[in-house]
Amino acid sequence: MKPAAFDYLRPSNRREACERLHEAGDDARLIAGGQSLMAVLNMRLAQPRQLIDIAGIEDLHFIERRDDHLAVGAGVTQAELLEYPGLAEAVPLLAQAMPWIGHWQTRNRGTVCGSIAHADPSAELPLCLVTLEGQVVLENRRGKSRRVMAGDFFQGVLTTDRRQDELITEVRFPLARPGLEYRFQEVSMRHGDFAIVALAGVIDGARVTLGVGGVADRPVCRVFDRHEDPGETLNAFAWSLGAEDDAHATAAYRRQLIRERGRELIAGGPSDEEIAHARQG
């Protein structure tokens, strides 16, 4: 379990990182925390010729609360975001979801943007980003930046809209809005394991956005009306995700969790009066 030889580059700025990416093409991989990539390298499931470490790029290391979103730079570890003061108030969904990501040790190294870039269908952060309708900001070697809605960014198993010479510079999590409730639930074999089913919910009055991770090849969201019986639509949603059997859970189990846990999530939460009250306050 030793990786094949590679060149290790540690650029000092974004432009240089993108240049290197462009030059090496598919033979290069970006590394930040390495919590997924190192295992892949050691098992030789990939043999890139170059590893471009972005941990030394100073201006990627920021968490900024802006008008309507929390921006998290590509150098920020999961542990740093989890410890960000006021996270529970700014993006409550993240505060609930992030303790489910691996363990202390992996969160100390793993980065927020790295998890987004890796696009593991069971990962918590992509699910949160999609459910909150957040954005991914990418920059190319010409310094040109573009923003992609999370729902468009994730394109399949470990596959995203990132182009060859692009670097994710930050991700943007929309700030909590008054009166909205945020819920996160996960079923996994042990604490810190990959989600069998993860559910993220945004309760906005009668409108509930339910995101599901761990089932389809990417996180998927649906909007439900709290005043309607969600039974039929939840069932259709559950079936539509193409759940599969694996060594730990059957497809039927995953669908059932979406139906039952999803129903709880949609029906639960504060009453209409409570929401109205919270909005006034």
């Binding site: 198993v157 596959t159 042990r190 909007v223 639509t233 259709a236 060594a247 730990h248 139906r259 039952e260």
Partner: protein
């Protein structure tokens, strides 16, 4: 949470029986352990990496190591040809025409089977070179499922045997036919125990040298024993025993039986060192370990009991099939026979009928694993007792009570020959009921059920055998075969104590501990006998077959330390004490019986005379001339101990398979979440009577560890194999082991009934909960859900299925063309989809047959070379996301029916494993000159990627195969790329009134 009820019998030194902290811990907790991988190696040592089969069953057609040998830093490659020249197959315990070599020679029979070894200047270079070795396999049909493998028409692993059943034995004790004929009730059950393993933190390590001058091998490895395998290794290396010097490191990072399985690698690396002409070091990595080291046998058991109206079992029938994997590897089929004498558990059941069959399948060979043979037996037996209670509408604990071996009947000869040495089973159960708070647990169940919660209570009693009889394995042979082979029995343990010129005490035991704290207990025993402080004693537990006292039963297995090894230490200490007492008595002119040893002093009982221990002992070195005539001088005593009760199996196949039998009574309460199916332990009570406890802290540690592993086996651990024999549990994200978060603290209760057969009255205690805990939890889940069929591990998904999923059907239009679930799960991937292409079917068909098109539409195809009609060799880089591998692939188009249908198939191998599959393509003309292309594919992946990537294989393969057809569409000028499955779902949602 520990309640300790002592019937303590401490000696004058009050060391034995003390809760003594481990002398090992300081070094281990400060990272100063000296493990095999930490030890210095000889200059010029090469690093080995092992090439392993990605296939479960294949003929080795050709192996070309020359590209690897040409790589920088690579010194040699060991192959099957070399070992056939220098070595021999491993001897096995049953007579069958089958051969097991340390490297595959004719066929590979399981995923992960070693095929070649590269020796290079670093492990990195060695692993680079593995990828350069070209192996041609002819893939053969597999026998994976145990019951399918023993069917007549199953593919054979070892053709010369003519069957995959390599051992079948029938046993009959008492008069089972009559007991069944007279029985008021018959209760039967069929159970399956899956494969799992107790995974040590440290994997295998081997450092090997070969000395051509003396034609001898010198190997250091974290091998745990039994040293009967030293003979197996020496015979495989084709040398006399004294030409294989086998040594162990000072510390080992856990074993739990598993490190018995390093022995084929001792042979392999010895031969590798010989081939390379240099010392060789090999450190097994986790993927190698999980995939190819060893595992407990999985077993299928049909069990039936003859039962009286009041729940008394008069007879049992066992029909067991053990699945030992691809080769019967020594000491298998020991999983059966280690427990054979005590098949009736803690019960007095007179009549017994047994059929044992050993099956070979395309899975990793099995071997020792903590609890060896016990989980398989008790899962069947204790599930059966629970079923008897349910079917007869009795309290399960009452059924247990009515069948226990009665108080006052010890030593008790069980039906199959076990001589249960000591205990009071009924009193132990009552103690457990009282001190574990069963009444409270019953009340909690009642309360939970009243509230509509799923709550159950499970019970288990078990006898825990320890100090195995070296002759038990011959029970696999018929009495005639045994007579021919000569008797085998006993269990020799050894200990050596020497006292130095300064009165310093050194001890050596051949027990190869794997983290249990043997050094602490050895020192306690000596300190008690010689009346010295623990600090003055140095204990060495490294074993060197070239220098140390050892025998075939040496090693760390069968919970033999406290009964046998500590007993031998006691005997050696007594020999030292008696010699010193003789010297002191002669000097002081008193009777030797009056000499006492305490607090570092030697004195005369009832007298004034006293002398420091060191001075008396030192005299044997400094002034041998002053000693009595009979004293030879020097002070070093070795004790060999073997218990007479361990006799060879008799002509009626009765075997006292172990010397000691501890008693265990467990019960637990579990609650099950109705939605997630998650099983939560409310309370777990475990009572042990392990004879005299030498150090209760260490005993509790053993109980906790075995409990954690038993919990893992009950709830999450399983080595999963696909239908094609692919191994699917290659990482600790796939093979799940409970961590501290998942393991509650059990309530541990003790009772001490000394064994009359061991020098200190101690019995083994290290394996009991591996045997009792899985079935205890299973019984609780059965009680909570009211069901009979329980299969481990009880994962949330499986338990939820037991609760019942009343699934509403898939709404029309949603996912109806979705990937069909892979048949039987595993790494076989099947799905179908379609794409719309511009052009007539004829145009599409011709385009597909065009090699240029083929190269363009296969994702990552660098080169395509025609090798036959519509057959190509291709160089393809395939992957998703960061994962990528370069395949040497064969691509072919076949079953051509122009312009209606054809088959596109491909297969290839890469560093990350093998893949092959084929897609049936049908072309249908639709309006406006368009063609609909429908395809069904069936693919399978093997090797590393199947072992570690199971979670994503379906989606990944769907994506890659989908790419072929979307590229075809683009190439044919399809303006709008087809709607992906995903987009179609979105559209459907729109129709269903939702928003996406």
């Amino acid at each position: 949470m520990n309640k300790f009820e002592s019937v303590r019998q401490t000696g004058q030194g009050k060391q034995i029986g003390r809760r003594q902290p481990r002398v090992e811990d300081d070094a281990l907790l400060q990272g100063r352990g000296r493990y095999a991988d930490d030890l210095a190696v000889a200059p010029g040592t090469l690093h080995a990496a092992v090439l392993r089969s990605p296939h479960a069953h294949a003929r080795l057609v050709d192996l070309d190591a020359s590209p690897a040998l040409a790589m920088p830093g690579v010194h040699a490659v060991l192959t099957g040809e070399d070992i056939q020249r220098w070595a021999r197959p491993f001897p096995v315990g049953v007579r069958q025409p089958m051969e097991h070599w340390c490297l595959a020679v004719d066929k590979v029979r399981y995923v992960g089977e070693p095929v070649a070894v590269v020796m290079a200047e670093s492990r990195y270079l060695a692993e680079d070179a593995l990828e350069a070795i070209r192996v041609e396999y002819e893939i053969l049909p597999v026998a994976v499922d145990t019951e399918t493998a023993i069917a007549e028409e199953a593919p054979l692993l070892h053709e010369a045997v003519g069957s995959n059943v390599v051992s079948e034995r029938h046993f009959r004790y008492g008069d089972p036919e009559r007991a069944f004929a007279e029985a008021e009730h018959r209760v039967s059950l069929k159970v399956r125990v899956p494969r799992s393993s107790c995974t040590p933190m440290e994997c295998y390590v081997v450092l090997a040298e070969y000395d051509p001058a003396s034609a001898s091998y010198d190997v250091l490895s974290n091998f745990q024993g039994p040293y009967a395998l030293h003979s197996v290794m020496a015979r495989a290396l084709n040398v006399p025993g004294n030409r294989l010097r086998l040594r162990t490191p000072p510390d080992a990072g856990g074993s739990f039986g598993i490190k018995q399985g390093v022995f084929p690698y001792v042979v392999m690396m010895g031969l590798a060192a010989r081939k390379a002409g240099a010392p060789v070091k090999w450190v097994e990595d986790r993927l190698e370990h999980l995939q190819g080291a060893s595992s407990a046998t999985n077993r299928v058991t049909e069990i039936e009991a003859a039962v009286t109206g009041d729940g008394r079992v008069t007879a049992m029938r066992w029909d067991q099939v053990d699945d030992c994997g691809a080769y019967l590897r020594a000491p298998e089929p020991a999983t059966f026979y280690r427990m054979h004498g005590n098949l009736t558990g803690a019960y007095a059941i007179e009549h017994l009928q047994v059929r044992n069959r050993v099956a070979l399948t395309n899975k990793t060979p099995t071997g020792l694993n903590r609890g060896f043979g016990g989980p398989q037996i008790y899962f069947a037996l204790e599930r059966l007792m629970q079923r008897i209670a349910v079917e007869l509408e009795l309290d399960p604990l009452e059924v247990i009570r009515r069948n226990l071996v009665p108080s006052g009947s010890f030593p008790y000869r069980a039906a199959a020959g076990a001589l249960l040495d000591s205990g009071d089973y009924p009193a132990s159960v009552e103690q457990g009921v009282r001190d574990g708070g069963l009444d409270e647990l019953l009340a909690r169940r009642e309360n939970a059920r009243r509230e509509g919660r799923l709550y159950g209570i499970g019970y288990t009693v078990a006898v825990e055998p320890s100090i195995s009889n070296m002759g038990y394995i011959t029970t696999a042979m018929t009495p005639e075969e045994r007579r021919k082979a000569g008797p085998k029995n006993g269990a020799v343990s050894t200990a050596t104590i020497s006292v130095g010129p300064l009165g310093d005490i050194s001890a050596h035991v051949s027990s190869t501990p794997q983290g249990q704290g043997h050094r602490t207990v050895v020192a306690q025993v000596i300190a008690e006998v010689l009346g010295v402080s623990l600090e003055s004693i140095s204990v060495n537990v490294e074993l060197d077959t070239g220098k140390d006292a050892w025998s075939i039963a040496s090693g760390n297995y069968s919970s033999r330390f406290s009964g046998a090894v500590a007993g031998a230490v006691y005997q050696a200490a007594v020999k030292v004490r008696d010699r010193l007492a003789g010297i002191a008595a002669a000097q002081w002119q008193v009777e030797a019986a009056r000499i006492r040893f305490a607090e570092g002093q030697v004195r005369v009982e009832g007298g004034e005379l006293t002398m420091p221990f060191g001075r008396l002992a030192g005299a044997t070195h400094w002034a041998p001339g002053t000693l009595p005539d009979w004293e030879p001088g020097g002070l070093r005593e070795t004790a060999f101990w073997s218990p007479p009760q361990l006799e060879a199996p008799d002509d009626d196949d009765r075997i006292n398979s172990s010397l000691c039998y501890g008693f265990i009574f467990d019960y637990c309460g579990v609650e099950i979440d109705r939605i997630t199916g998650r099983v939560t332990l409310d309370r777990y009570v475990t009572l042990h009577d392990a004879g005299r406890l030498l150090n209760p802290d260490l005993v509790d540690g053993q109980v906790r560890g075995a409990f954690a592993q038993g919990l893992g086996a009950a709830l999450m651990e399983e080595f999963a194999y696909g239908d094609d024999g692919s191994f699917q549990s290659g990482t600790f994200a796939d093979y799940l082991v409970p961590t501290s978060v998942e393991v509650p603290e059990p309530l541990i209760l003790h009772r001490e009934t000394p064994s009359p057969f061991t020098p200190l009255g101690a019995k083994g205690v290290g394996e009991g909960n591996n045997m009792s805990t899985p079935v205890c939890i299973a019984n609780a889940v059965a009680d909570a859900l009211g069901i009979a069929d329980i299969e481990l591990p009880l994962t949330p998904s499986k338990v939820r299925a037991l609760i019942g999923i009343d699934e509403p059907p898939c709404p029309q239009g949603v996912g109806e063309d979705q990937a069909a679930p892979a048949a039987g799960g595993g790494s076989r991937l099947t799905a179908s989809d379609s794409v719309t292409l511009p052009g007539s079917p004829r145009v599409v068909f011709d385009t597909l047959l065009d090699p240029e098109t083929l190269q363009a539409i296969i994702p990552g195809c660098h080169a395509l070379e025609l090798t036959g009609e519509n057959a190509y060799r291709a160089d393809v880089t395939v992957g998703v996301g960061m994962i990528r591998a370069r395949f040497d692939a064969r691509v072919a188009l076949s079953d051509l029916d122009p312009p209606h249908s054809l088959r596109l198939s491909g297969s290839g191998t890469s560093a990350m494993g093998s893949a092959d599959g084929s897609a049936r393509i049908r072309l249908t003309e639709i309006e406006d000159g368009y063609t609909r292309l429908d395809y069904d594919y069936d693919a399978s992946v093997g090797g590393k990627v199947a072992s570690v990537g199971g979670r994503m294989l379906q989606s990944a393969s769907r994506m890659i195969i989908g790419q072929i057809f979307s590229r075809l569409s683009l190439r044919m000028g399809g303006t709008a790329p087809r709607l992906s499955l995903w987009q179609r779902f979105k559209t459907l949602f729109g129709r269903l009134g939702g928003r996406s």
